[in-house]
C-alpha cells in the first residue's frame, strides 16, 4: 500500500517539472530540427519540403564561416581571461589589504547591472572622439581609436565588455572556495619552504579545480548566450567582424524572418554546445579533486 502510494506520488511530482523541461527544452529542439528540413512559407510562396537544402546553404554561407571564427576567438579569449581575472580579484579581496569591502562591491557591481545598460554605457565609452576611452588616449597624446568602427578592434571590444561584466560573479565563487581551503595545508607547504607562488600554484589551485570547472562551464555558456552587447553596440560589427552565433540566429530568424534557416542554425548551435559540454566534462572532470 505504502509502496504504491509513494510511486504514484513520485510520478505526480515529476510530471510538472518534466513537462516544463519537455516544453521548453526538448520540444523546441526537436521542432527546430523538423523545421530545418522545410522551406519558409509566406503568402507569396508556400512551404515545401527541402530536405538538406538548408544544410547545404549552411555550408556555403560565408558569413557563417566568419561568425564561427569570431565565436571561437571570443570563447577562447573571454574564458581564460575571465577565470584569471576572477582568481586575481578573489585573491585580492581575500587578502588583508584595507578597503576589501569596497573592492568587493565595485568588482561585483557590473554583474548586478543588466547587460543592455552595460552595453549602452560602454557604447558611450568607446565612441571615437567624444567617448571616455578617446579622452584618456588624448591625455597620452595618442589618436582616438574607432573601437567599434574598425574590423580589427570590434570583436576585442566586445570581449572586453563581456569579461568586465562576468568576472565579478566568478570572483564570488572563487572567494567562497578560497575561504574553504584548509589553512593547515598552506601552513604545511610554507613550513617545507615553498614560496607564496608555489603555495598558490601547487596547493591552492588544485583544490580550486571544482570551482574552476564550474566557472569554465559558466563562462562557456555566457560566451554563447550573452549577445545583448553585440545587438546594442555593433549589430554584428563592421562587416560581420563582431557577429556571434546566437546574434546571427536572432538576426536571421527575427529580423530577416527566415525561420527555416534560423532553425538550421539553431540545430548547429545545439550540436556545437553539446559537443563542447561533453569535451569539457570529460577532460576537466578527470583531474578534479572533490573533497
Amino acid at each position: 500500500m505504502n509502496n504504491r502510494l509513494s510511486i504514484r506520488l513520485a510520478v505526480i511530482m515529476l510530471v510538472i517539472p518534466c513537462s516544463l523541461l519537455v516544453a521548453f527544452t526538448h520540444y523546441p529542439a526537436i521542432q527546430a530540427l523538423i523545421n530545418s528540413f522545410w522551406n519558409n512559407s509566406s503568402s507569396r510562396r508556400p512551404s515545401r519540403f527541402s530536405g538538406i537544402e538548408n544544410y547545404q546553404a549552411l555550408m556555403e554561407d560565408d558569413r557563417l564561416a566568419q561568425i564561427l571564427i569570431n565565436s571561437t576567438i571570443y570563447a577562447l579569449g573571454t574564458i581564460p581571461l575571465a577565470i584569471g581575472l576572477s582568481i586575481g580579484m578573489a585573491l585580492l579581496v581575500n587578502s588583508r589589504l584595507p578597503g576589501t569591502t569596497l573592492m568587493r562591491l565595485s568588482f561585483f557591481m557590473p554583474t548586478m547591472l543588466p547587460m543592455i545598460a552595460v552595453a549602452n554605457i560602454w557604447l558611450f565609452f568607446y565612441a571615437p572622439g567624444i567617448g571616455l576611452a578617446s579622452q584618456i588616449l588624448e591625455v597620452f597624446g595618442m589618436p582616438s581609436i574607432n573601437f567599434l568602427g574598425r574590423t580589427d578592434t570590434a570583436l576585442a571590444s566586445m570581449m572586453f565588455v563581456a569579461v568586465w561584466k562576468e568576472a565579478g560573479l566568478f570572483m564570488i565563487f572563487y572567494l567562497a572556495a578560497l575561504q574553504s581551503v584548509p589553512t593547515n595545508l598552506k601552513d604545511a607547504a610554507k613550513l617545507e619552504g615553498a614560496s607564496a607562488l608555489r603555495v598558490f600554484w601547487d596547493v591552492v589551485m588544485p583544490l580550486l579545480r571544482p570551482t574552476t570547472i564550474f566557472v569554465a562551464v559558466n563562462a562557456l555558456i555566457n560566451a554563447f548566450r550573452l549577445v545583448d552587447h553585440v545587438i546594442v553596440m555593433t549589430e554584428g560589427g563592421p562587416n560581420n567582424s563582431s557577429a556571434l552565433l546566437l546574434y546571427y540566429i536572432y538576426e536571421v530568424t527575427f529580423r530577416q524572418r527566415d525561420f527555416a534557416y534560423g532553425a538550421t542554425l539553431t540545430v548547429l548551435m545545439v550540436c556545437l554546445l553539446g559537443l563542447l559540454a561533453i569535451v569539457q566534462y570529460w577532460v576537466l572532470n578527470r583531474k578534479a579533486h572533490y573533497q
Binding site: S42, S43, R44, R45, R63, L123, F124, A127, P128, G129, I130, E138, G141, M142, P143, S144, N146, L148, G149, R150, T151, E235, P238, N239, N240, S241, E251, F254, R255, Q256, R257, D258
Partner: protein, 428 residues
C-alpha cells in the same frame, strides 16, 4: 410578482442597452511606435494619443514605444504571428513588402473607401505616398517622413574663412570645404573632422542611397523584386566615401548613426549628414550658429526618402479598423502633424499642414526646417524589396567592408548583387 417582473425587465433592458452601446463603436487600440532620432518623440506621441483618447472616450488607446525601427517591426511581426497584433503601428515605409508577404496588414484603401476618405488620401505629398502603394492599393499612410540633410557649423565655416551661407553643393566642393574645416592638434591628431557621414548599418545604407540618387540612379524599384547594387552610380558613391577618408575630410573606418548628432554638437565634426528628424535636437542643444543645406550631390542634388508610415493590421475587428482609421486621420491632421514636426523636425506629410499658423511661425523662426521639404523634389524612395532585411544586409556588408578597407568597391558590389539576385529570383 409583477413588481419583481417589472424590476427584472428594467434591469435586463438597462443591461442590454449598456452592452449594446458599448459594443457599437468601442475599440481598444494598441499602437506600436518607434523612435529613430534624438527627439522628445515619446512625450509628443503620448500627448497626441491622449488628445485623441480624450476626444473619443468610447475608445481606449495604448501607445507602446517599441524601440528603433527594426525592433518595432520585429516586435509587431512577432506579435502578429502570435495572434496578438497591435491594431495600428508606425513602421518603416520600406517594410511594406515584408508586411504584405507575411500577410499581416490591410490596405488602408480597403477601409478608407468613402469619397471623402479618397480625397483625404490624395491630400498627402505624392513623394511620400509612392512607397506606400503597391499593386494599385494604398497600404499605408505617411506619418514621420524625412530626408537626410546636410547640417553644418556656421561658426566653423567662418573660422575656416568660408562663406557660412554657402554650404557645399557637389562632392568636389564637399572635399574642398571639408579639407579647410578639418582641424588637427599639435600631435597631428584630428580634433575636428570636416564632415561625418554614417556608414554603418541601416543608417549608412540609407545615406548611401542618397549618394546613388545624386548620381542619377536608384537602388530599388517599386516592383520590390529588383535591387541595383552593382552600377556605375554605386561604384562612384563608394569611391566618394573612400576619397573623403583618404583626403582626411572624414574619419576612416565605420561611422555609427547613433552618436553622429552628439559628435556634431561637441564640435568633433564641422558638418554631418543625418535625418531632418534630428533638427529639434540640434536646435535645442547647439551652442554655435548652424545651418542646413541639401546633401552635396555627385551630378546634382539627390536624397533618399525615409521614415515611417501608419499601418493597420489585418487581425482586427470592424470597430477597431474604424477607430484606427479615425486615429490615423487625427495623427496626420494639420494640427497634430504641426506639433509633431515642430517637436522633431520631421517633414509634415500633407501640404495643408504648412498653412497652419503654428507651422508658418515655425518656418519663419527656423528656416532650416524647410530644407528637407525642398529637397523632396530631388528625392527617391529608400531601398525596399521583398525580404528587405536579408537583401539590405548584402548592401550593408558591401558598404562596411569597403569603408573598413577589407574589400575593393567593385568586388564588394558584385558580391552584394549576386546575393541579392539569388534571393529575389524566387519572386520573379
Amino acid at each position: 410578482m409583477t413588481k419583481l417582473k417589472s424590476y427584472a425587465t428594467l434591469l435586463g433592458a438597462t443591461a442590454l442597452t449598456l452592452t449594446g452601446a458599448a459594443s457599437v463603436s468601442a475599440a481598444d487600440l494598441e499602437f506600436y511606435f518607434p523612435v529613430g532620432v534624438n527627439a522628445p518623440a515619446v512625450e509628443t506621441i503620448q500627448a497626441l494619443t491622449d488628445e485623441w483618447a480624450a476626444a473619443n472616450p468610447q475608445h481606449t488607446v495604448k501607445a507602446v514605444y517599441a524601440g528603433n525601427y527594426e525592433e518595432t517591426t520585429t516586435k509587431a511581426l512577432t506579435a502578429a504571428n502570435a495572434g496578438q497584433p497591435p491594431q495600428v503601428a508606425v513602421l518603416l515605409s520600406i517594410d511594406l513588402f515584408t508586411l504584405i508577404e507575411e500577410d499581416v496588414i490591410l490596405p488602408i484603401s480597403d477601409i478608407a473607401n468613402s469619397e471623402e476618405d479618397k480625397e483625404w488620401i490624395s491630400g498627402f505629398y505624392p513623394a511620400f505616398m509612392s512607397d506606400a502603394q503597391f499593386e494599385g492599393k494604398t497600404y499605408a499612410i505617411p506619418f514621420q517622413r524625412s530626408t537626410p540633410v546636410y547640417y553644418y557649423n556656421k561658426d566653423a565655416f567662418r573660422e575656416a574663412g568660408l562663406d557660412p551661407e554657402a554650404p557645399p553643393k557637389t562632392w568636389d566642393e564637399m572635399i574642398e570645404v571639408g579639407k579647410a574645416l578639418t582641424v588637427k592638434d599639435d600631435n597631428g591628431n584630428v580634433t575636428r573632422w570636416g564632415t561625418r557621414i554614417p556608414t554603418l548599418g541601416l543608417g549608412g545604407a540609407w545615406l548611401f542611397g542618397g549618394l546613388v540618387v545624386s548620381k542619377g540612379d536608384v537602388l530599388t524599384t517599386e516592383t520590390g523584386i529588383e535591387a541595383r547594387m552593382d552600377t556605375p552610380a554605386t561604384l562612384a558613391s563608394l569611391e566618394f566615401l573612400l576619397r573623403l577618408a583618404e583626403e582626411e575630410v572624414m574619419a576612416p573606418g565605420g561611422i555609427t548613426w547613433g552618436d553622429t548628432p552628439k559628435a556634431f554638437l561637441e564640435g568633433q565634426t564641422a558638418s554631418m549628414w543625418t535625418s531632418t528628424g534630428n533638427l529639434a535636437f540640434i536646435e535645442e542643444n547647439a551652442e554655435f550658429d548652424w545651418g542646413v543645406g541639401f546633401l552635396p550631390g555627385g551630378d546634382g542634388p539627390g536624397a533618399p526618402i525615409g521614415g515611417g508610415n501608419f499601418y493597420v493590421f489585418q487581425d482586427t475587428t470592424e470597430e477597431e479598423r474604424e477607430a484606427a482609421l479615425d486615429f490615423i486621420k487625427f495623427m496626420t491632421s494639420p494640427e497634430s502633424a504641426a506639433k509633431w514636426s515642430i517637436a522633431t523636425g520631421y517633414v509634415a506629410p500633407r501640404p495643408d499642414t504648412w498653412e497652419t499658423p503654428e507651422m508658418k511661425a515655425y518656418a519663419e523662426r527656423l528656416p532650416q526646417a524647410l530644407v528637407a521639404l525642398d529637397q523632396l523634389a530631388y528625392a527617391e524612395r529608400e531601398f525596399a524589396t521583398f525580404q528587405r532585411a536579408k537583401v539590405t544586409q548584402y548592401l550593408v556588408d558591401a558598404i562596411e567592408s569597403v569603408v573598413t578597407g577589407n574589400a575593393e568597391p567593385a568586388e564588394a558590389l558584385a558580391k552584394a548583387q549576386e546575393g541579392a539576385d539569388k534571393i529575389l529570383s524566387e519572386y520573379k
